[in-house]
Symmetry: none
């Protein structure tokens, strides 16, 4: 199964792009995120060395790009058309943030619809007329004091949201889920903590008159860490080594007849 | 109220960046997403016209960038250090996707912690040693057939996730954000790990011929635990006590003239 197949119905449409470097950067971002369909509406310079260089290992996306003269050609067969938009518009349109908008786009593409995501010119985005060709508008909630993202960055954000939806089936929020060692069970942890307390008494770090909270703090530390079995073995090995040094001192003291200590 | 204030505790740390254009693109992505703190560790070319050009209207981010010679300088005062990572590593570390990882980072920064997000070299990312300085690793779930994102794109993805959290305002409680003790910073943790290694040599638990991975496993354990300052003090107190026993043995041996040992 191809990794990108659930995204194959989604195309990126770049309208009147000025800088070929941006086209290359878009291609790379697309391939990184498993998108493959690139449509270029009247690009100023394409093909171009700068595009090829910035695409890095995504040259195949550029090679397969569909170059159109008009926006109509690029979106004609699409069932869902989404345009990127600044927030201020004269005519309000259904406007979503990238997360919710890409959820819509992903659902439709999985259902077999062809989806176009349109990105406008570097300097002034999409015209009102172009925006009115869209079913939905999407807005990246950028800094109001500097809201103009580079076009390839905007594509990266949308493509990332789509990729997250594609992989969400096998994503696990639990950082310990794929650990290389079995997680220690409660009994092993408890034996370690008993061994730790015993050793701390041996080295006179814990004393009957010391604050009761010390051992509690160490317990909290190791409980929250979710020790694995090998870590418990290492930590207990350290305790055993430490105890052997205490024993040497005791033996040399008793061997020397120094009972007073 | 400044829009960017809840993100002011989060710094982007670029390690050994080769291309100044990438530094500029990172600055723009940061300002677009309301991030402001840029740290550059030994950049190859900076300042540079190409950086200024790609930064567009984010020149202030470049002007205020902190240039450091070593990674230590860039992260010393941070309570949470996150590194970007490819999935394949010899020793697994707690690994999150950008969404969950930035939730952690955002919660901690709102709680007053300083957070570093580290990005590596264009050609080979962060070294294992650098990755081992991190509390968490974050991985963008890219196309397995072409997983190498441009560094500015990777910053854009993380910054976008942070900005989405900032504008959504939804925060649930974080275990470490409301801790009863200040979380130890990277420098304090590093001093503890040096002290631990020294002590393990003292007690002959670590030897030159022992497996190299032992210390790495202990480092991983304490890095992921997010030690607080009191815990570091307790753990170092235990090490100091242990060393005093070793010293007693050495002194009694040398005092008894028993060099043969």
């Amino acid at each position: 199964m191809t990794q990108g197949n659930t995204l194959d119905n989604i195309r990126i449409v770049l309208v009147n792009t000025s800088h070929p470097g941006n086209i290359g950067a878009v291609a790379r971002a697309m391939k990184n995120m498993c998108l493959s369909q690139l449509y270029l509406v009247a690009p100023r310079k394409f093909p171009h060395d700068e595009a090829t260089w910035r695409a890095a290992s995504a040259g195949d996306i550029l090679d397969n790009a569909v170059v159109c003269e008009t926006l109509d050609e690029a979106i004609a067969d699409c069932q869902l058309v989404v345009g990127t938009s600044a927030r201020e518009r004269t005519v309000p349109w259904p406007l979503l943030d990238p997360r919710h908008c890409m959820q819509e786009a992903y659902k439709e593409s999985v259902g077999g619809h062809r989806v176009a995501l349109m990105f406008g010119r570097e300097d002034r985005g999409l015209t009102n007329e172009e925006l009115q060709r869209c079913n939905l508008h999407v807005h990246i909630p950028a800094n109001p004091e500097y809201s103009s993202l580079n076009i390839a960055m905007a594509v990266q954000v949308m493509a990332y949201e789509l990729r997250m939806l594609q992989v969400s089936g096998d994503l696990d929020a639990n950082a310990m889920a794929e650990w290389d060692q079995p997680v220690a069970d409660a009994e092993a942890l408890e034996r370690y903590l008993v061994h730790l307390e015993e050793t701390l008494y041996d080295i006179n770090f814990l004393r009957p008159e010391a604050p009761k909270k010390l051992m509690l703090r160490l317990r909290r530390l190791y409980q929250r860490t979710r020790l694995d079995e090998m870590e418990v073995n290492i930590l207990r090995g350290i305790l055993t080594s430490t105890q052997s040094w205490v024993r040497k001192v005791r033996e040399s003291e008793s061997g020397g007849g120094d009972e007073g200590r």
